[in-house]
């Protein structure tokens, strides 16, 4: 069952993303105010959703599980690392797609808006996480420090989420649901957006699966290299 779902993950991801692009580019109508620019919104909020909540959530939960002694394992450490690495890509995509939408709408590529700034700060945090991992060679020390740093970093996520309510700057509020729980989007536009959320979430897990496998192979290769080096030195009589 698990193998079947893993095998289906790739095709389902591709189909849902293809459907999103088809609905977004051809089926849905232009917006009354934004015109064709609205089509970017079938992509930007889902990417931001993956960047902020799915990938950072995965990294934080895996880090917490690593720090908890009962569930501490290399699996959790690798999972947190891979999720954080993918989040860097999605945060960059969030900022890029937002910037492309912002130029014609707001008149600028970048504004010192609370949500934009806090998202950029989160991106720097994610890069700092990767830098921290590279700075520590001892696997146990690296895993512990990275886990603590990931948890510290996650404090920024609620700040980003509520920034549009707390500071009321340029960025608009929630895209799909209002604070009252009523829908902001309807009809084919709603379906395009929901499919976008599903497609990009699946894409994250698909990428995570392959990145994780790559990390396992890299760990094995490193271990083998050390063993081979030790064997070579022993053969040399050192």
């Amino acid at each position: 069952m698990i193998k079947l779902s893993q095998r289906l993950l790739g095709p389902v991801t591709l189909v849902s993303l293809a459907l999103t692009f088809w609905l977004g580019l051809w089926v849905t109508p232009p917006d009354v105010v934004q015109g064709d620019l609205v089509r970017l919104l079938y992509v930007h909020p889902p990417i931001a959703w993956v960047a902020l909540y799915v990938s950072f959530g995965t990294a934080t939960i895996a880090s917490c599980l690593y720090l908890w002694r009962r569930t501490r394992s290399d699996v959790m450490d690798r999972l947190a690392y891979c999720a954080m690495e993918i989040s860097v890509v999605f945060i960059a995509l969030t900022l890029i797609t937002g910037s492309i939408w912002g130029r014609p709408t707001w008149g600028v590529w970048w504004a010192w808006d609370a949500r934009l700034t806090s998202t950029a700060i989160l991106g720097v945090f994610a890069l700092a996480y990767l830098a921290l991992r590279r700075a520590n060679d001892d696997p146990a020390l690296r895993a512990r420090r990275s886990a603590v740093f990931a948890i510290l970093t996650a404090i920024n996520v609620p700040i980003i989420h509520f920034s549009v309510q707390w500071w009321k700057t340029l960025h608009q509020g929630a895209s799909v649901l209002t604070s009252n729980g009523t829908l902001n989007v309807h009809g084919s536009m709603l379906w395009a957006m929901l499919l976008g959320f599903l497609g990009f979430t699946l894409l994250f897990f698909w990428l995570l699966r392959y990145r994780y496998r790559l990390e396992v192979k890299r760990d094995l290769a490193t271990a083998n290299t050390v063993d081979e080096a030790l064997a070579l030195r022993q053969r040399e009589g050192v």
Binding site: S118, I121, V124, F125, A128, L141, R144, R145, V148
Partner: protein, 219 residues
């Protein structure tokens, strides 16, 4: 926990008093950086600019980074961390003690830099006095967060040069909040929302530090 915190704090402060690194190295650096900030504005702008609070916090940031590295380096001598670990001290107490010592050092530095900004950047004296509570709370938050981030980059193979990369994203909201509070005290404006950020961050970093500092000290 409080007893250990007090012991660690007095130990760190005693080392500081004897070595006088704060007095002869950090404070002169801060004053020079403040002077250079004034020079950057130019003689006509230095007295009229509203950049005083921002420049004060920029210099404070540089000084804080130096002080965090200094605070963590106290245990960097060979065998010190191992011997501290064998004492079986509560890690939460160690964290609170180091954070308290760093807070006191930053408060001293902050007071000197505030006086310097009144003289060099011509920030209003009354407004600066009104800003004092927010400055002290912001510096305490920087110290608590800095103690936690400092522990991430010390010992082992973690180079201390990584500290700015890790801390700057975390310090950015605190510095913005501190600067806005300082500006509000000088020129008027909303104050409470910036206070909330700093106080919530202080509580959050203290809680995380108490819970997780032990993990960082594990060997």
């Amino acid at each position: 926990m409080t007893r250990i915190a007090w012991l660690v704090a007095t130990k760190d402060l005693r080392i500081e008093v004897r070595s006088r690194v704060l007095l002869w190295q950090v404070l002169p650096f801060g004053v020079i950086a403040l002077l250079l900030s004034g020079l950057a504005l130019g003689p006509t702008q230095a007295g009229n600019s509203t950049a005083g609070p921002g420049l004060f916090y920029l210099v404070t940031l540089f000084v804080t980074l130096l002080m965090i590295n200094r605070s963590q380096a106290l245990e960097n001598a060979p065998g010190t961390r191992a011997s501290v670990a064998t004492l079986g001290l509560d890690p939460a107490g160690i964290f609170l003690g180091k954070a308290l010592a760093l807070t006191i050092e930053l408060w001293i530095t902050g007071l000197v830099l505030l006086a310097g900004s009144v003289v060099v950047l011509h920030t209003a004296l009354i407004g600066t006095v009104h800003a004092l509570p927010s400055v002290l709370v912001t510096l305490a938050t920087l110290a608590v967060a800095g103690t936690l981030y400092g522990a991430l980059t010390q010992g082992g193979d973690g180079p201390a040069t990584l500290l700015p990369v890790l801390t700057l994203p975390a310090f950015a909201p605190l510095l913005i909040a501190g600067e806005r509070s300082f500006s509000a005290a000088l020129h008027g404006g909303a104050l409470w929302e910036w206070w909330v950020i700093v106080v919530v961050a202080l509580v959050a970093y203290t809680a995380v530090g108490i819970l997780l500092y032990g993990v960082l000290e594990e060997s």
